[in-house]
Symmetry: C2
Subunit: 793 residues, 2 copies
């Protein structure tokens, strides 16, 4: 699977073009940006989860000889920048003025000559706090006597943010009322952190002479950031340049505008110098975008022989102190898109209640495409709970209920249309690759042996995602529609430069997109450079998250390359003196129909376009093109995963023995990059299932603010992945591709948890929440499972 | 004339946007570029005009402790880079291998840690030369026994480069044979230097990891440079980024690719570090592109009453040792476009012979649009010679022969079509502004007085230019057609960024082009940023020279803005739910025909385009557009100039008392910028007419390699200009503009020389060549004029 052939002209395995600089240490990350006269900023953060600010004394910090500026909420109030809009119809404090609302919240910003002085000066700021009771459990936040966290918001008398529902509640209730079998289960998806390798940071450089603000920051959505800065700060949009250089991982953590960015900008404006701000690990883990934190109750109505009839879901969603990203403002969240998973149900209903708590803002799109991860986990857990209650084989139960190929395009109970799929084929392939029958036989033999050795568990999950936000008519961020631009410029020698609105945080855009152009124009991928991550150089678009790069921007790239090809046809027609309609395309070349020898390569055509060749009226002398792609629908990748675990009954330690992953993301542009994405996501799933948890104590103190406390999987915890694929092209995508960036993260946690539950079945364990740490598993075996949402035993 | 109103929405006077940074010293010129680890290069130049290279010993230089590399022609031969193509179908030595062919020719390149070490090390290089006889006079270069300069070229047995002819020779000869009056005059346009304030230089930075070459160089044609580097050096075109940052004047001097650029590139490749090379003044004056050096013989056939019937011209053009830029390869040079000037003649013929001499390569487009300056000077000198011989008033003689408005579009004897003009009106206005009758009366009175005070002279010139190269079907550079691209991106808030292929060397593109977009879209010019001078950021085009920016790229800008406007109409139609055809445009706004209140501003439309507004099929959600403009014809600006001089008969000192300049460049986008261009060009004319000369001794030693020897006019030598205008829009240009960058330089020398000759008329002086230095004028009065082409008295 890892053979790399010569770079193909088009789709196929090739090494990533960007790796030449990465493996030589020649990448340029935000912290590599050093400008003449640059100053350094540091953020003073709240030690309390909830407290009133009585006073802030910055005199001693101001007096520090190497300090250039101390900025507080009061400074920002003067600039009308103390509060800023989030991307989800809420406001957020840049620097706290009235209260602090989570531990780690930004209170002041020091700008100094170097990092050390800035950090030292933080300790010279004297903030007097009046502590308030903290609300940490989302369910308790809805109690009538819970302290009101967002008393800054007019008319906000409680901690309730929204109630959203999707599906047909009455029809669902009716099915439940008549169901032979109803199973119910509370399922928690605990708060986790995307934890990218590189923390968040920015270098802001405001030039008072030209009025130009340049900000290097490792955002996943540079254009959206620019427009928001323009709308909020009143800076003209064309005078703002957001550069997202090489980025060391995003995973949703780098979508929001963090207060540090705004502080760096203000710091540059007030000092007249460039200002760098860079989080340390603890700041990143404590204060920036978390994910999940969903308290879910799932109910399944079924027939006694395992035919699923309806699904009813209730969710309490913990959004922390400010409602951050990834809550589309116009249409119910992605959770709704696929909460019925891959199954054919008569009716379904889901209600989600969003609440404020005294935690850092949650809701970042950590491989969740607006909560698809939570939905996929819930339904796959519920299937296994149903199998447990009915004592059915979970593979058979799934096969019985999966949507059939002939049902596509499939209208979901919440109004979406799954584009394409052959689900039974993917599951069959996974079962076959795993040797499912043999595994079950091995398990049965082991159980029968009465050994006190490891408990074997086999877990299955089958997931469907809905990725590629847009379509713009259904979604927006602050009114900006979900569409993405692409520009393709072809130089006289036929070398091409593609400019895209989306931006890589490690996904390999410079390779994948070059391959799309290569495929469409028939030129080597090395002849195509891809420019991204710089708003001055690229067309508008909403960024890379929710697996949307290939579904949206990849489509834009194919479309713009086809425009170039059509331009080339016009020029070739002038070169060959034949009607454009008489030309046929073969990879890299237009030729005269019926006379294949008579033709011109795209390189020859490019030079001719820029030469003194006379062209017909209306045909311009270039091949360049521009487009914006507004996807007509989401794309629906899917997959079947099988995980085999061994659980040590004495310690509760889980070892993932095997992991089979069959993914269908439609057409694969570079299978090696797809597999890399899958590898990473599978590791994510092991991490979330077995070890990752951002825990809080009852006062709202964050207990996971270092990698000593917040555990991530390493290669030691991962088996050698066994990957398979089916290919069901998306019918509405120009090259038939679907997104794959989040698939494995979405699909894998349930497989691991289901495997552990399967191992524990002989002990009567029906469900235990993630993360399945050794202590937790051991206690589940003992019949006393931990609560994992709080660090309370 | 100098009132500046508020920045207009569209055309009108406004301060230049770029000046905010220039007046604060915040421009970034090549020499301001400092990169980490940057090294410095210096060029060893030949002391001989013609010599064989026997040997080059670089050992001592190599041993210098701060020297990193010494590059010779031998080094380059290994890279196949010792010779490079010029832009005019010739080759040029990058570093001399066989012979040196002009004084100042590049022989070796030292790369060192700093400039001082690089310069010091030059003196450690030991070159053994075998001097050869030099050929300095172009006419002597054609002698059969003249030493052959270009013995490197196969089949080149003499110094002859080309013979070109234009017009109908037989018809012309026939008219001459039957003419009542024939006048003839040898006229020299001596070798001058554009002498921009900033000398040429480059910083080359080759990244071996990414294969990307970035070269900052102050070129006037970054895209052409990039393509040539790609074609010559075999570097992929998309891996070359040419950045022409702020540039301190070009005037044609910065069109060619100089050996220093190539050496800096090679230096960066061999050292792995960025390498800066920057000429000093002496290098710039001695070795880089010169202009003019035309030995011309003009003959006019006329009737006795001053009706011009035919023109016959023979030119020996001195191109120096390598045939450089500004010799279009496909069509006779610009000299031919307008060598009959602004006059209605029955027949005309011109023959040009190009020759090699042992001088630095000439032929740069120093305000000459491919030799228009020489042609305009010759015809205007010939008119005055005819007036002298016929004893007619030169104003009346011109008025009698000028083309009439009804003759436009006017097919010239060499096949071009003058686009539009009202010549008599422009001349009448100039005569009126000057108070011509009163001036003549004053002159007559002075002459009659017998005073030995200053001699008063009144000189007229009427010029027609042909500027704006393309059209691409008639011209190319190395096969690249003369067309220019423009891209216009409109941000969601309606702020716009225009990317243009041409590049400013001080012309004010950032203002003028913003005004064109402002005019077309009805938005403030401050809402439009203009990006230029960076091949990575801008569409392909052939650069700024030959007054072609506004005629070609300005047209592209208007066209692309109109495309944006049409896109906006589509979006507005969706917003207002009316048919696009029912919308009317008023500045900045589409409204419903018949209901002006129902409309949307361009800013509202831009936001809606990027919003979740649903758009009809085929309408993309953005307003961005791209174009390339291939001009259908040249534009033909013209003007009438009147110069009044006082000549001191005792010293020969000329004082320009008044200068009236009526220019017609069609529609004026920013009249203040137009006037600035005219001011500069008029000063040029005074310089060339009175003081500028690159002289050589008989051995080819350059005698003008410092500003002590090569004199330029200052404000002390210039009167307060009196400007007037007529406006005859170009019918084929989208906004009716013609080029104006070179007009005054083209038109003014003849006015000054004619004025001096007019002053000297009582002494029987019919013609003396430029520059009319005091010594020269004094000797002309004495009946012993100097030869000015050689520094030989």
């Amino acid at each position: 699977m890892t053979t790399v052939e010569q770079p193909p002209i088009g789709f196929g395995r090739m090494h990533r073009k960007e790796d030449a600089r990465f493996v030589r240490g020649r990448g340029t990350y935000v912290d590599d940006v050093v400008l003449p006269g640059m100053l350094y900023g540091a953020v003073l953060r709240s030690p309390f989860a909830h407290a009133r600010i009585v006073s802030i004394d910055t005199a001693a910090a101001q007096a520090h000889p190497r300090v250039k500026a101390v900025i507080t909420g009061q400074t920002l109030e003067g600039l009308k920048l103390a509060w800023m809009p989030t991307l989800s119809q809420d406001t957020q404090a840049v620097l706290a003025t009235d209260k602090v609302r989570f531990q780690g919240q930004e209170v002041a910003f020091v700008v100094a000559e170097d990092r050390y002085a800035a950090r030292d000066a933080l300790e010279l700021i004297d903030v007097e706090y009046e502590p308030l009771p903290a609300v940490v459990d989302a369910r308790r936040a809805l109690d009538p006597d819970a302290p009101v966290i967002r008393d800054d918001k007019e008319g906000q008398a409680d901690n309730h943010i929204f109630d959203w529902g999707a599906g047909d509640e009455a029809a669902t209730d009716a099915v439940f009322a008549s169901a032979e079998v109803v199973v119910a289960q509370d399922v928690l998806y605990p708060r986790v952190h995307p934890a990218p390798l590189e923390t968040c940071g920015a270098v802001a450089d405001f030039d008072a002479v030209t009025g130009k603000l340049t900000i290097w920051c490792n955002t996943q959505a540079p254009h959206a950031h620019r427009t928001v800065y323009a709308l909020v700060a009143g800076l003209p949009e064309h005078k703002i340049r957001v550069i997202s250089p090489d980025v060391g991982g995003g995973f949703g953590n780098k979508v929001p505008i963090y207060p540090g960015y705004v502080c760096a900008i203000v710091g540059s404006i007030v000092t007249g110098k460039p200002v760098k701000w860079m989080e340390d690990r603890s700041e990143n883990l404590m204060s920036t975008g978390f994910a999940r934190d969903y308290h879910m109750r799932g109910e399944v109505a079924a027939t006694r022989d395992g035919r699923i009839r309806a699904l009813r879901v209730k969710v309490v969603a913990d959004h922390g102190a400010f409602n951050g990203t990834a809550q589309p403002t116009k249409f119910p969240a992605g959770f709704f898109h696929v909460f019925t998973g891959s199954y054919d149900v008569e009716a379904a209903y889901c209600g989600v209640t969003g609440v404020y708590t005294n935690k850092a803002p949650g809701g970042v799109a950590y491989a969740c495409s607006f909560r698809i991860t939570e939905a996929a986990y819930l339904i796959e857990r519920m299937i296994d709970v149903l199998a447990y209650d009915l004592d059915m084989d979970p593979a058979q139960l799934r096969m019985k209920n999966l949507l059939k190929p002939e049902q596509f395009p499939y209208p979901s109970p919440t109004g979406w249309e799954y584009d394409s799929g052959d689900y039974p084929r993917a599951l069959s392939l996974a079962l076959e690759m795993a040797g499912y029958e043999e595994l079950r036989a091995e398990q049965a033999a082991r159980r029968a042996s009465g050994s006190d050795g490891p408990l074997m568990g086999i877990g299955i999950s089958f997931f469907t995602e809905a990725v590629g936000a847009g379509p713009r008519k259904h979604m927006d961020i602050l009114g900006l529609g979900m569409a993405d631009g692409a520009e393709l410029r072809v130089h006289p020698t036929g070398k091409a430069v593609l400019r895209i609105s989306v931006q890589s945080q490690g996904q390999g855009h410079e390779t994948t997109y070059a391959q799309i152009v290569a495929e469409e124009l028939g030129i080597p991928p090395d002849d195509v450079d891809v420019v991204h991550g710089d708003t001055d150089q690229t067309p508008f678009g909403l960024g890379t998250y929710g697996s949307r790069s290939t579904p949206v921007s990849g489509a834009a790239t194919a479309v713009v390359a086809r425009k170039v090809r059509e331009r080339a046809r016009q020029v070739a027609s002038a070169m060959l003196e034949v009607d454009p309609g008489d030309l046929e395309w073969e990879k890299g070349r237009w030729y005269v129909r019926g006379d294949q020898g008579q033709g011109r390569t795209i390189q020859e055509i490019a030079l001719a376009a820029h030469s003194s060749l006379e062209l017909p009226d209306g045909v311009e002398g270039h091949l360049d093109a521009t487009t914006v792609y507004n996807p007509p629908n989401l794309t629906f990748p899917f997959g079947a995963y099988i995980c085999v675990v061994d659980v040590d009954p004495g310690t509760g330690q889980v070892k993932v023995r095997r992991f089979v992953a069959v993914d269908d993301c439609g057409v694969r542009i570079n299978p090696m990059i797809v597999e890399g994405q899958v590898h990473g996501g599978l590791a994510d799933g092991i991490g979330m299932a077995l070890m990752e948890l951002i825990a809080f104590d009852e006062d709202g103190n964050c207990l996971g603010a270092s990698f000593m406390d917040y555990l991530l999987p390493t290669s030691m915890e991962c088996p050698s992945w066994e990957l398979g694929e089916t290919v069901t092209p998306s019918p509405h995508h120009p090259i038939g591709a679907k997104g794959v960036g989040e698939s494995a993260t979405v699909g894998s946690p349930a497989a691991v948890v289901n495997a552990v539950m399967d191992a524990l079945k002989p002990y009567g364990v029906r469900h235990a929440d993630m993360p399945l740490t050794p202590a937790h598993v051991w206690r589940a075996i003992q019949g006393r499972p931990l609560r994992t949402d709080l660090a309370i035993t």
